[in-house]
């Protein structure tokens, strides 16, 4: 089976979409990442990544109905697909494996 590959930023974006649940779209995802990680994120970078993840099949999207907000322009909401969830779990799994394999003294050095 082909192994899922997620870039670090892709992982962050994918996770954020999962966190935001039903209300994930460009603006919320960007702001959420900024708040949670404290790093400034390019608006267009987020959009690009969202689209790339959709092309990879980890996200699906649908357009919302028009609202009075933002000049009546519709939003594109993203949800994580099964494949996306699997990829996240897999990444988490690999991390945990790696953490588990750390020798105890190294763990102590890191302050844990």
């Amino acid at each position: 089976m082909k192994r899922a590959f997620l870039g670090e930023f892709e992982e962050v974006v994918l996770l954020t979409v999962a966190v935001l649940d039903e209300s994930a779209y460009g603006v919320t995802v960007t702001q959420e990442i900024e708040q949670k990680t404290g790093r400034a994120v390019g608006f267009s970078t987020v959009h690009t990544t969202l689209q790339r993840l959709e092309e990879k099949g980890y996200l699906s999207s649908r357009m919302s109905g028009a609202t009075a907000e933002r000049g009546g322009r519709r939003k594109r909401f993203f949800t994580v697909t099964t494949a996306g969830r699997k990829a996240l779990v897999e990444v988490k799994h690999i991390r945990e494996q790696l953490w588990g394999a750390l020798p105890p003294q190294t763990l102590q050095l890191m302050g844990n």
Binding site: G26, V27, T45, H47, T48, E69, R70, R73, R74, K75
Partner: protein, 873 residues
């Protein structure tokens, strides 16, 4: 608080439409948030940064959709357009055929013309120094005007080199015609090659630093030495069967052995300086058997001087320097001699020095443009005529949602399809025309085409122009139909641009045809005129035989030849001379002093060497004095009336007995009635004639009627016995005279050919138009006939329309044709008058052509049985 508008517009411009909404929405929302967070100014900056951040593939790339955003290009619509276009063609085969043939003819002929024009403008362009190469001319200022000679004195080269170190390269060249090449054989006689139509030359090595040559083997380095020669690959192969011929010896004109030191690549047909045999300048003295003439008084059109100048050298600099030059080397010529420079790009078009007339090229170009206009007008006429039949289609399409733009492009597309079909036909015509031109015109003046990018470029340009000219108007008209009217079938000819536009077009066409016909008539009658004009000397049944081109004629051999020739019963008289009365190209000019006048005369004189029988053979008349006494050296001279006039003396008898000094004094014994010693393009120049047997170059034989072929055969036998090293060449004077007008004749045939095509295209258009008129008027004719109209009345219905148009066209065409043609005639000293009958004839011819094309259909229409045409109602 809105985000920067410009940024928004930019986003709209590049962003894919299917993503724009969400992206812009997000951006706006973010903007509002940032305004609250960091203030408006910084939010605007951010907005810009974000927008620019989107300038990347994911946002720009368009999603391929099921429906094209522009329905015009959707596959099914295009399919439909093609289908409808095809159905229309099939339904109206006659129109389609006329359209495509007319356009094809027009495009093909125009392409031929443009290829010809481009050929003439590409001559010698391949030389790297093209822009810096000049030929030094000799210019004489005479009371009759200024005229240029391509040649310069022999001494020019050295003098220029001494006085103008600024000249980068300078090379003298001496040209001679019809070289005779002999290859010495170890055993047996030499193999001889008579290179008629080729030119030989003597050049200085610098010639090859000015002009670019590609060497197959060897090179020009040794060409500074005497008795060396370089030849073209073609000639080398002809003589030796190979190009590896360095060190081999060829004998030129039976007088001089030369060693081959280089072989250069063949000339393509794109140079004015094709000299396949170029010997070293240092050999010239041996070739002519005498030292080169010193001084600046003897000028020969075949001794030329080329220079390449450094950048930044202006014509004004040159002219200023040359004034001092003349003062130094030719003090008596300060008033009437100049040595201007002629840029290489002008050489091909300078008629004075034997070039092609630029006027001719441009008049052909104009005809080419006319051809395209005429063909396009046909198209417009036929297309608008057909427009009525398509009004329902337009109505239906509009009702179903077609926009005006869509319909417009549909019809332009149809025009483009037809034009492309016509282009295929045009390429065929182009091929045929090219072949025809090569066969008919080759040798007359060069007519070569290159299939290169520029011709393809021309073709593309022509196609686009034709599509624009012929498609635009009908497309606009058709696309502008109102659907309600169109569907109700209430569109009439009035809506189809009305008659006025159509009439305007037909008038333009008629006017073009009439102008071309006037041109044809004028050119033809001018040629007829100069060819049959009395030149003042006998032309019929005079045969000229060339003597060997040796530096000094052997007088005893000439006497023997005279006796042998006179023994032939058909030969009436024989005279020797340096050339016949018509001198083509080679004119010996000189300055003279008259009587006791201290200063040289301010005019240049042509000189001729003749014997005492010359006047008899050519039937020249004396107005005063007597003929020359037979003599072998110059003692007495005859002058012409122009000479006397140039001296400022009124009575010819007054010059008799006076001395004319040209080196030494010669007594004037007679004055000849003026005759045209040059051609009729130039006037009669002052001329003197004297005896000088060693300089004779031609035998002029007056023949009785009889078997000329037998005479020539006998002469050839005698000649070859007498001059075994030379070769026999004979030509009749009247044929020789025809050659003067080769360019005019070529022009006449080209003008006739292309103008003929234009007229044919015009005729095709008329035919189509009358077909349409007949179809439209079927009912009208039926009603009229029922009401008692005679066939003549019906015919007049058609005739009246066309007659009116012809008259209006005549009014427009006549002044234009008059202006153009009187301009052309300016080139001729002897010319016809532009009489009214020429224009009347042109109009008559146009009327006749119209009658021919129009009559059949109109007669058919007028004879139609009204029962048939009215029954359907």
């Amino acid at each position: 608080m809105t985000p920067p508008r410009l940024a928004d517009q930019f986003l709209k411009f590049f962003c894919a439409p299917d993503r724009l909404e969400e992206v812009q929405g997000d951006l706006h929302e973010e903007f509002a948030y940032q305004v609250r967070r960091v203030g408006e100014r910084r939010a605007r900056w951010r907005y810009w940064r974000d927008v620019l951040g989107f300038f990347r593939p994911f946002a720009i790339r368009r999603k391929p959709g099921d429906y094209s955003p522009n329905p015009l290009f959707s596959p099914s619509m295009i399919q439909n357009y093609v289908k409808i276009a095809w159905r229309n063609l099939v339904k109206n085969q006659t129109y389609a055929l006329i359209n495509v043939t007319g356009l094809g003819l027009g495009i093909g002929a125009a392409l031929l013309i443009f290829a010809l024009v481009r050929y003439h403008y590409a001559i010698d362009k391949h030389h790297q120094k093209y822009d810096r190469i000049y030929r030094v001319l000799t210019e004489f200022v005479t009371p009759e005007g200024v005229f240029d000679i391509a040649g310069v004195p022999y001494a020019m080269g050295k003098a220029l080199q001494n006085d103008h170190p600024a000249i980068e390269n300078l090379a003298m060249i001496d040209i001679y015609r019809d070289p005779l090449v002999a290859i010495p054989m170890p055993t047996g006689p030499d193999r001889k090659f008579k290179e008629a139509h080729q030119m030989g030359a003597f050049v200085q090595p610098a010639y090859f630093r000015i002009f670019d040559y590609h060497w197959v083997v060897g090179g020009p380095t040794e060409l500074a030495q005497p008795n060396t020669v370089v030849i073209s690959a073609e000639n080398a192969t002809k003589y030796f069967g190979t190009t590896q011929v360095i060190g081999k010896v060829i004998k030129l004109n039976a007088v001089m052995n030369t060693r081959i030191v280089g072989v250069f690549e063949d000339y393509r047909d794109n140079t004015d300086f094709a000299y396949p045999i170029m010997a070293s300048w240092a050999s010239l003295r041996e070739f002519y058997g005498r030292p080169l003439t010193e001084g600046f008084d003897n000028i020969n059109g075949d001794t030329q001087c080329f220079v390449s100048l450094n950048d930044g050298f202006s014509k004004a600099d040159w002219d200023r320097q040359m004034m001092a030059f003349v003062k130094k080397y030719k003090p008596h010529g300060v008033k009437d001699t100049r040595f201007p420079m002629q840029p290489l790009r002008d050489i091909h078009f300078s008629t004075d020095t034997g070039g092609v007339s630029q006027g001719l090229i441009w008049s052909l170009f104009a005809i080419g443009v006319f051809l395209i206009i005429t063909a396009s007008i046909n198209f417009v006429n036929l297309a608008t005529a057909q427009a009525l039949n398509r009004s329902r289609e337009v109505g239906v399409r509009k009702v179903l949602g077609s926009t005006r733009g869509q319909l417009f492009w549909q019809f332009i597309g149809e025009t483009a399809l037809l034009t492309l079909a016509a282009t295929a036909l045009a390429l065929l015509f182009f091929q045929i025309g090219q072949q025809l031109a090569q066969e008919r015109l080759h040798g007359a003046f060069r007519f070569t085409f290159y299939y290169d990018v520029s011709v393809i470029g021309w073709l593309a340009l022509i196609v686009v122009v034709v599509i624009g000219l012929s498609g635009l108007y009908p497309a606009l008209v058709l696309a502008g139909f109102k659907p309600a009217m169109a569907l109700a079938g209430r569109i009439t000819t009035r809506q189809v641009g009305g008659f006025s536009v159509r009439r305007g077009l037909v008038i333009t066409q008629f006017a073009i045809s009439q102008m071309l016909i006037v041109g044809m008539i004028v050119v033809a009658s001018q040629l007829q005129y100069i060819q049959t004009k009395d030149l003042g000397f006998r032309q019929e049944a005079i045969l000229t035989v060339r003597l060997p081109s040796s530096p000094k004629q052997d007088i005893s051999k000439m006497n023997t030849f005279r006796n042998l020739a006179l023994a032939i019963p058909e030969v009436k008289k024989l005279s020797y001379s340096v050339s016949g009365p018509p001198q083509s190209g080679w004119i010996s000019q000189t300055m003279i002093k008259f009587d006791t006048r201290p200063e040289p005369e301010k005019f240049t004189t042509q000189q001729q060497f003749i014997d005492a029988d010359y006047l008899n053979v050519y039937g020249l008349k004396l107005v005063a004095g007597r003929n020359l006494q037979p003599a072998d050296t110059a003692r007495e001279v005859l002058v012409n009336e122009a000479f006397v006039k140039a001296l400022g003396i009124r009575d010819p008898a007054k010059v008799l007995g006076k001395l004319m000094h040209n080196g030494r004094g010669l007594e004037i014994v007679g004055v000849l009635k003026d005759f045209n010693q040059n051609n009729l393009k130039s006037g009669i120049a002052p001329l003197y004639m004297t005896t000088r047997a060693t300089s004779y170059f031609y035998a002029n034989l007056q023949l009785h009627n009889g078997n000329f072929r037998r005479v020539i055969e006998q002469l050839e036998k005698d000649y070859n016995g007498l001059y075994p090293d030379s070769y026999f060449s004979a030509q009749f004077v009247d044929e020789q005279l025809q050659e003067f007008y080769v360019q005019e004749q070529t022009m006449a045939s080209l003008v006739n050919f292309f103008a003929g095509i234009a007229v044919i295209i015009g005729g095709l258009g008329l035919y189509g138009l009358v077909l349409f008129m007949a179809a439209q008027k079927t009912k009208e004719i039926g009603v009229r006939k029922v009401l008692g109209a005679s066939i003549r009345d019906i015919l007049w219905l058609f005739g009246r329309e066309f007659f009116r148009l012809i008259v209006v066209a005549f009014v427009i065409a006549t002044p234009m044709a008059w202006w153009v043609m009187s301009h052309w005639l300016q080139d001729f000293v002897y010319r016809i008058e532009l009489d009214w009958w020429i224009f009347a004839l042109a109009m008559l011819l146009t009327a006749l052509i119209t009658l021919l094309t129009v009559s059949y259909e109109s007669i058919k229409a007028s004879f139609a049985n009204p029962v048939k045409s009215l029954r359907s109602e």
